[in-house]
Subunit: 457 residues, 2 copies
């Protein structure tokens, strides 16, 4: 975004803010810890707010983990009062939260901050939340993710603009921010936890990254450039995979189904990214999804088993013949049923369909939805029940028994459909795999006595 | 590749060799430094050669940089004799080569080895050259490239199979190789230069990577996995960019021309990769090409100048109106010319075309390739010359002068074509921008005396 006329000379830091300003934002929420980065960001924003025609609102969360944290909160409140920026301060017992959510204190603090800021953004009707992350933070994030075994997407690290979050200083170095703060005589507090070597980020900051800078003095700007280029490629992949998921999607009542042949025809790189996108769509995110999970899905896809399923962290993936089926959770298996069928009347099946029976003198003819039986041949009361392991029947027109399991398999009837499929039985004899195949038993003949007519509605 | 029957139990290391064996290879050249990695590879290959139905040939290059290097050569020669593997040993004064080629000793050694192996591979008719790089080398290569500011493609690091090179141990750890060597009682020599901290690779091996392993014990396997996934994506990109370059290519006599609008329509990630592929095609490789060069080409492409050019390392890129033109070197600019034109006869132009003149009594009519002039109006001898800065003429049908430069620009005549375009002049007056536009001077009228007819053939 360019702005027509200025009455002051802008520093590169201020220029970064202007260049990345979210077009049309009228209200900004600024996260202020009280450290030099966020104080500098807040100050630069106050200088630019008239030019940008934007109102500021500051936010500070007291983590209650350091002794001086209450003092930091007072510092931020006073500074905002002095700079005429409305400010909200809240407290959160992050250590307790960490225990409660089974997270590291770092991660719990991060979650608490994000939740606080997102809630406050709604309250003050903010168009964006400004964070003071800078280039050094970006390099640390990249190295942290590399160390933790992140994939390519994770290495893209932080973005200047991502949903409501805005990081205008992401291209500025720590030195640049410090120089700006000193030049403008800004006050700030030092966060002592930045020196605590128990945090991995601090080990990186104070040990590993300085060693890398000794080897290559341009290391930080090069990694920052790399993250930008990875981000551009991630955007490209995102376009591709969204298109693929849309193109490959099959009709599906719950979850997402993708065509197997179409998946297998994709380049492996595009395929694995498309599978990730499917997971993202059914899970909401990709947390705890690792390369090994995607390899398992690949194996499911290309394996010889035509029906199989995987329970993965936060989702369930199944192969069902020519489809790969993604759901947040495994589908609930329908309960078995076993119901008496009157010789004349209606029976509602568990899936909502209805079987209607009537006793007649004449044949009317069978179809996929209608069968007729010789009433005289039915020695026992009729029942309608669900499939049981070991079920066999004599398909009409065939000699001998066939396992129902084989019949289901031959007809590509999926596991879930097998369990809801009603079977019309007389004692141990399956008369009709309802709607699918009649058995050769109790066939009614013209003029051979009463006929039981069973109709699926 | 799978093999039907074995008479021995294979170790995972040997299995890696079998699994990645280049299908159909009959003759292998094995690079043997004498260190544990290459001795292990050679030994495992001798064990598998019958199963693989492949002949082995060893190769050792004595770098002459270490005191014990001659002894290493003897060691390798003796070992190969003992194992019945034919072996070629050569010497190369790598230190001198480094000075001569202005390279580091490491890089000169690498080049010397590759040249030696490639030459020997031709001599022994080898189908592949086996190198003993393993997972630890791969992680070091990744980290080295990251430290040196490599882009995404470079981070793909080494491949198991790449052209004639085969690295069957790339998935095996250093510990695995050492254990195999010890189990089989193999002898080897220690390369003292592996301990020299002046080599960056050794700093990584002995300092940085151990620190990273302390933070994350799975660091090495995770980085190895990351390089594999990056390789799969690089293969995808390669497919995409080759297709793009083919689709976007314009007819071009020398070098490569891509359509500008089509390039601008691509996603930025695909565009920058397509530009890199164009560079690769005209240069043969991408050495010394950095992100900044691609940014310069992007600027050339999207800038307001319709003609401009860049001299980049090992190549030349120009915008020429709606095309981007890639060449290994800048095109040679044609020499200026200034030739007398007889009133009747032929003149061969520098570009090979011919101007034919004749004096006639009658008009015959003009065309794009023929003009006619009133001989009486031609006060001075005619000449044909190339464009000079400041040239102006009166285009026929217009009032007043026009700068020839503007005329060229209006007609999108490219810089190189401007310099070969012949101008028919009489003194200071341009009569004809040959083949492009006649001037309004010396127009011949019917029945107004002798006519000079000039024809471009």
């Amino acid at each position: 975004m360019t702005h027509g006329c200025f009455y002051m000379k802008l520093s590169p830091l201020e220029q970064s803010i202007l260049d990345s300003f979210p077009v049309g934002a009228k209200q900004l929420l600024v996260a202020v810890s009280g450290g030099v980065d966020s104080v500098t960001l807040l100050y630069a924003l106050t200088r630019l707010s008239a030019t940008l025609n934007v109102s500021l609102h500051a936010a500070h969360l007291d983590h209650q983990i350091r002794q001086e944290s209450a003092a930091d909160a007072v510092f931020v409140r006073d500074l905002c009062a002095q700079w005429n920026v409305p400010c909200d301060v809240e407290s959160c017992a992050v250590a307790d939260l960490a225990q409660q959510r089974k997270l590291s204190v770092e991660m719990a603090g991060r979650q608490a901050r994000r939740e606080f800021l997102q809630r406050l953004a709604v309250e003050v009707d903010a168009d964006a939340i400004s964070l003071a992350h800078h280039q050094d933070d970006q390099v640390e994030t990249f190295m942290l993710r590399l160390l933790r075994g992140s994939g390519q997407s994770g290495l893209a690290s932080m973005r200047v603009c991502q949903a409501i979050w805005w990081r205008p200083l992401l291209g500025c170095s720590r030195e640049q921010i410090l120089a700006y703060a000193q030049q403008h005589g800004l006050p700030w507090v030092e966060d002592q936890s930045n020196k605590n070597p128990k945090y991995l980020r601090n080990q990186l900051r104070h040990e590993l990254i300085p060693q890398m800078l000794k080897i290559n003095p341009s290391f930080k700007t090069q990694i920052a450039g790399l993250t930008q280029r990875i981000q551009v490629e991630e955007d490209y992949w995102q376009e591709q995979v969204v298109r693929q998921v849309n193109e490959l999607a099959l009709p599906c009542a719950d979850g997402l189904r993708l065509g197997r042949d179409a998946l297998l025809a994709l380049h492996p790189a595009l395929r694995v990214r498309t599978l990730r996108e499917a997971l993202q769509q059914v899970r909401g995110d990709l947390q705890r999804i690792e390369a090994i999970h995607l390899q398992a899905i690949e194996a499911l896809l290309s394996g010889i088993k035509s029906q199989a399923q995987l329970n993965l962290p936060g989702c369930w993936v199944a192969r069902r013949y020519d489809a790969l089926w993604f759901r947040a959770t495994a589908p609930e298996l329908p309960s078995p049923f076993n119901l008496p069928l009157p010789l004349s009347g209606e029976l509602e099946l568990p899936d909502g369909r209805v079987l209607r029976t009537s006793t007649q003198d004449e044949l009317e003819g069978e179809s996929a939805w209608v069968t007729e039986y010789s009433l005289a041949a039915l020695s026992q009361p009729l029942r309608v029940r669900s499939w049981l392991p070991g079920d066999r029947f004599v398909p009409s027109g065939m000699f001998g028994h066939k396992k129902l399991k084989s019949f289901f398999s031959d007809n590509q009837i999926e596991i879930e459909a097998r369990l809801t499929m009603p079977l019309l039985v007389c004692g141990d004899t399956i008369l009709w795999v309802v709607g699918a195949r009649r058995s050769g038993c109790a066939v009614a003949g013209q003029g051979q006595g009463k006929v039981l007519r069973v109709e699926l509605i």
